[in-house]
Symmetry: C2
Subunit: 330 residues, 2 copies
C-alpha cells in the first residue's frame, strides 16, 4: 500500500491517507490511525486495517477522493529521527574529490551516517527557502526507509524486518557552507536545511520485485529546470543496503518508531552513462574532464524534480518538485 | 515554574506535571496539556494556566502528590530536535588535545553544533545501557534549553525570547568509538548513545537572577561513584550563550516547538580549582601533569550523578543519577 499525510491547519502531523497504486485517489483512514506516526507506533494493529482499505480503494476505481501531491506534506512532516547514510561510495568519492578531502578507509568497511534535522521536514511541493543564493544550493536524490521500534544491537537479518515503508528524499545541501562546516569536525548542521520527501511512502510488499535484499531496484530520475541530470538505479553499486545501515545504527542505541533512514545520494559507477543525482557530482566530473565546473548550483526560481520509476516508467512515490525561493526573516 | 513528565505505560511522551519549587510535590495538569510537547506547541495559551497551577501548588504545601525523580522520564521523553553546542571552549581545547585533533580557528568565532539523536531520550534515573565496556563511556554534564517555534534567521535578541525552559543534561559519550567515528567526517552517531535529562525543566522567570544573558549562573556538580569530579559554573567561561547558539542554528532552518539546544560540556578555565564535568577532561589534565591518564572511563555498575545547585546549595532541576548496565541484545 501507499500512504501519505495531507496538510491540514489543525495538525502539525497532517492527516494520514491511503493512496491508490496509480497515485490518483486517496481514502482518509482517521478511524484507523490519525497520523502516520501513530500508525507506525501501532503497526501490527493498524497495518492489516490499512491494507484492507488499500485493497478496497484499488478495487473500486470510482472510490476515494482525487489525490494531489500539491496538498501532501512529507509522509512524516516531523519525525523523531532522520538518520542519513552514505551508501553509494562512488558519490562519496566524487564529492570528497570536489571538496579536496580524503576518502577515509573506514568508509569501505562500515556505513557512514549523519544525524539529520527531523523537526521540520518539507512536503514534495514545498519551496526550498534560502536566505542567500551563494551557499551552493544542491539537491541530493536518495531513497529512505521508515522503521517501527528497532531495539539496540539488531542483526542485519532482524533489521530487514523492521523496515515498514520506503520513500524518496531530496536531501537539500548547501555545498559552500558544508566545506567550512565540516572542518569544524562535528558534521553537518547549517549545510543541511529542511529535507524534502515524496508524496507517498510505500510498503515493501507493494514494491514486490522492486524491493530485494533491503534495496530498491528502481531508477531515480533528477531534473533541474527540466534538464535531466541522471537516472541511476538505486539497487546498483549500493555498498551498504538498508538492513546493514540500520544494524550499524543500532550498535549503541534503540531506534524508535518513525525513524527515517536514508541511503545517501544515489550514484552508480558509470555516471557518464546514467548521470548523477546531485549537481556536485556533475561539477566534479566536469572539473575532471575540462578543468573547471560548468554547471552552476541552484538559485532563486530554479525548479528541482526527483522521481523514482519502475520498469514500466510509472512513478512509484510521486514526484518531489520544489522551487527555490528567497527567504526574508521577519 | 518547574515541569516534569511522569512515566506511564499508556504514552511514549509521559504525563505532564507541574512540580513544586522544592521538587517535593506535583500536580497533574492533563486538563491544560497532556504532554510537555503539547504545552510547547500551545505555549501562549498553556503557560499562564500552568503558572497558576504552579502558584497554587507552591502556596499550599499540603497540596499535590509526592514527587519522585525515580518515576520521571526526560521532560521531553522524545523530541523532534536535539541540537547540542560546544560553547565552553576550554572543554573543546582539552578533549581535542586528548584526541590528538587540531582546534579549528572557526570555533572561536561561531558556535559549534552537532545534531543529536532525539527519538529515545533517557529519564534521570534510567540506566545507561552499553553492550561492551571498552567503548570509553563518559558523562558530559551540560545545560540545555527548550524552545517554542523559532523561525529561520532570528537575531540573537529574538532568539532569547524563544527560550521557554532550561534543564540539565548528561550527554553520554563513548570516547573510544568517537575518535575513529569523527575521522569519517560526518560527526557523531554511534559515539552518542541516549542522552539523559534531569527530572524537571524550569522556566526562565522561575530561575530569576540565576538566568542572565541567556546563561545559567549555577554550579554543575558531577560525581562518579560518589567521587566529585567538579563543580564549574555554567555562566563562567561560556563563549557562546544560548541565544547566540539558537541564532546560529537558525541561519538555514526553522526550529520547531520542542527543540532542545545544549551548551556542550560545562567547563571553566580553572579546572585545577573547580574540577571538570567529564572524565575525558580529567584524563587529559592527568596526562599533561603526569604523562598518563589515570582516571578510568565508566564501566558496568558505575553510578554517575549530575546536579545543578543555586547559591544556597539547593538542587534546581533535581539530580540525574544513572547506573551503567550491560546490554544484551534479544
Amino acid at each position: 500500500m501507499k500512504l501519505a499525510s495531507i496538510k491540514t491547519p489543525t495538525s502539525r502531523d497532517g492527516v494520514l491517507v491511503v493512496v491508490s497504486q496509480d497515485l490518483s485517489r486517496y481514502a482518509v483512514v482517521s478511524d484507523i490511525a490519525p497520523t502516520l506516526q501513530y500508525a507506525l507506533e501501532h503497526w501490527s494493529r493498524c497495518e492489516p486495517l490499512l491494507q484492507a482499505t488499500s485493497a478496497a480503494l484499488n478495487a473500486d476505481t470510482n472510490s476515494g477522493e482525487a489525490f494531489s501531491a500539491q496538498h501532501a506534506a512529507a509522509p512524516l512532516p516531523r519525525a523523531y529521527q532522520w538518520c542519513d547514510g552514505s551508501a553509494y561510495l562512488s558519490h562519496a568519492e566524487l564529492v570528497r574529490k570536489a571538496r579536496g578531502a580524503e576518502m577515509p578507509a573506514m568508509l569501505y568497511h562500515e556505513p557512514l551516517l549523519y544525524q539529520g534535522g527531523s523537526d521540520d521536514l518539507s512536503g514534495p511541493h514545498d519551496p526550498i527557502y534560502i536566505a542567500a543564493d551563494d551557499w551552493g544550493l544542491d539537491l541530493e536524490a536518495e531513497i529512505a526507509v521508515i522503521t517501527d521500534d528497532v531495539p539496540m544491537g539488531v542483526s542485519v537479518e532482524q533489521a530487514h524486518a523492521h523496515i515498514k515503508l520506503v520513500t524518496l528524499v531530496n536531501d537539500v545541501s548547501l555545498r559552500l557552507i558544508m566545506k567550512p562546516e565540516l572542518t569544524k569536525g562535528f558534521g553537518f548542521y547549517q549545510s543541511k536545511p529542511s529535507t524534502a520527501f515524496a508524496p507517498v511512502a510505500v510498503t515493501p510488499d507493494e514494491l514486490a520485485d522492486l524491493w530485494r535484499n533491503s534495496a530498491l531496484d528502481a531508477s531515480v530520475v533528477s531534473h533541474v529546470n527540466g534538464q535531466k541530470l541522471g537516472a541511476p538505479n538505486a539497487a546498483t553499486d549500493l555498498n551498504f543496503n538498508f538492513a546493514q545501515i540500520i544494524a550499524h545504527a543500532t550498535k549503541t542505541r534503540n531506534l524508535k518508531a518513525g525513524t527515517i533512514i536514508g541511503s545517501g545520494t544515489v550514484s552508480n559507477r558509470n555516471p557518464e552513462q546514467v548521470g548523477s543525482s546531485c549537481l556536485q557530482e556533475i561539477r566534479m566530473l566536469e572539473t575532471i574532464a575540462t578543468g573547471e565546473a560548468i554547471t552552476p548550483f541552484m538559485t532563486y526560481g530554479d525548479v528541482v524534480r526527483i522521481e523514482a520509476l519502475d520498469a514500466n516508467g510509472d512513478s512509484i512515490f510521486g514526484a518531489i518538485e520544489q522551487t527555490v525561493e528567497a527567504y526574508a526573516p521577519a
